[in-house]
Symmetry: C2
Subunit: 327 residues, 2 copies
């Protein structure tokens, strides 16, 4: 593996000159620079990033730790972060914590050890520990879910409000017994969506189930709800992965979305317009969340004294037929 000394030897100059030439410093003779470039190319030289970063005490890579690679909401965030980061010369590495606190912990540790320039994190749950990041002074921005203490910037979506709006929409459509299917307790988005729903139906009329943010759990939970003495005639579902399970549950009971059970789900997944009837959704600005997060992170990297900020983006209800009786 060719090192800078190999290149220096081949070009007949010092390692300092190679370094300067390869980093485009203006103070180097064009002729020498060319010789260096050539030597580097011939040797297939790739600077050792470890050594470079160790010396420079900085890296041009951001870590993005998300809680589920298979959830379109998070992959859209990833695109947003990436598009913006690339433009500023940063690479972003994606880590999948898989809604698993142990994995999340490991990836934060990796980010710390590899001395990444900054971290975008969608905290997995209750006990996310960002103390290490804070101590090291690694810039951090939380997305989707807030962090216990404001350990950095946050980019959130006003999902409680959106849940309330969706619930009102269902009520306005003539549904009388609106229920809610949400994620695990302690996961802020899950709690907020439930709260927004409860705000509207009133504590006395709450009927809900919790499940993991996964299809299978949601299917079972939906079935339970449907088997109650006074089953819901409409359902607010906390994300698109769960919606899959809910739709399966309905189908297995011979129930048609809209006509029999009104459905509104969070997240405008690509398939939601394909089904019959098309799914009414709460569209979250995921890509934008990612962009803003990256922006804040880069700003904080170049100026660590900035005040921590919280940005809250609005979600948008997209009415389709699954929330209409006449679907």
């Amino acid at each position: 593996m060719a090192t800078i000394s190999d290149v220096a030897a081949r070009a007949g100059v010092s390692t300092a000159t190679v370094s300067r030439a390869l980093n485009g410093k203006s103070t180097v003779d064009p002729l020498l620079a060319a010789r260096v470039q050539e030597a580097a190319a011939e040797l297939g030289y790739h600077p050792n990033g470890l050594a470079r970063n160790l010396r420079r005490q900085e890296t041009a890579v951001l870590a993005l730790i998300i809680s589920d690679v298979e959830n379109p909401f998070f992959t859209a965030i990833a695109r947003g972060v990436e598009d913006l980061a690339q433009r500023s010369g940063y690479s972003v590495v994606l880590c999948n914590s898989d809604e698993n606190e142990e994995k999340e912990r490991r990836y934060i540790e990796v980010a710390l050890q590899e001395r990444v320039a900054g971290v975008v994190l969608s905290p997995t749950g209750r006990s996310t520990n960002v103390e290490g990041l804070r101590r090291q002074g690694t810039p951090l921005v939380a997305v989707d879910r807030p962090l216990p203490a404001a350990a950095g910037d946050q980019v959130l979506v006003d999902t409680r409000h959106a849940a309330a709006e969706a619930t009102r929409h269902l009520l306005a459509g003539g549904y009388r017994r609106v229920g809610c299917l949400t994620g695990p307790a302690g996961v802020r988005t899950a709690d907020d969506r439930l709260a927004g729903y409860a705000d509207v139906v009133g504590e006395a009329n709450v009927r809900f189930r919790r499940a993991e943010y996964r299809a299978e759990g949601a299917r079972l939970a939906a079935l339970e709800l449907l088997d109650e003495p006074s089953p819901p005639d409409a359902l607010l579902v906390a994300n698109s992965t769960m919606a899959i399970g809910v739709l399966e549950a309905l189908s297995s009971r011979g129930l048609r979305p809209g006509r029999d059970v009104g459905i509104v789900s969070f997240d405008d997944a690509p398939w939601t317009t394909l089904i019959d009837p098309p799914l009414t959704v709460v569209a979250q600005p995921a890509y934008e969340v990612g962009r803003v997060a990256a922006q804040l992170l880069l700003a904080r990297i170049s100026d660590s004294s900035r005040e921590a900020s919280t940005t809250t983006l609005e979600a948008r209800l997209i009415e389709r037929k699954s929330s209409r009786r006449t679907g």
Copy 2:
């Protein structure tokens, strides 16, 4: 940021002892080890991975460069790679090349510079350049699409064969003018699926369009095909993202999958059973592809002299109603 010397000073030992204690070497007095642990904890010490890896000349991170984070096929591969890697103490960082050769090039460069232990790559297209990896001796395994020269192990899916089987299935279902919608020329999976289809219908009866592996392009291409003088009465679609576009096209023409136009699509995405009629698919063993790839990569990392191998996994046709006239 605390360094190993800080810990050493605090614990009243040498840096060597700190290093040994923290790395669980057996040759260190339990009492001292405890003192070191304590000092490290108090200082919030995180070993500098850059320095460590520079010294050790190795990293415990794998890079996984995939061509589309929003494609369930690739995220399933990611899970497979991750599950296996984690088990051996490796972390995996995901890079999204976005079907873009420039991005892919950048990420390969990053992988090279950061001296990752190995790379799993789904080559984006024609001109993927893995020369750098080869020269550095960085272990590489290609997934989904083969590499020009056998630059390492490969894990592929026998998609030509699967495409042929799917086409035969359509023909057996009574469809007479089977068409094909595939990805860009030069992308091996796209070419193979087209070839498998052509193998069965015969060169003379080929009717097909190419588009990016995206919904919108596929929608337009499908519309073109449907507007031909002798339009297809069935379609083989090269992936689930394209299938979304195709289904939209059909719907906009008032055509029902199955009854009017038989449909088989590659990839068993989670929503394919939700639509009416449910989609007949060619299910690729994506998770397994990831697992095998990680296995091969780890094997090659520990024994670089291994022969390069090619593993070809079988895809499975799952018959549902979109390929039946009586849907």
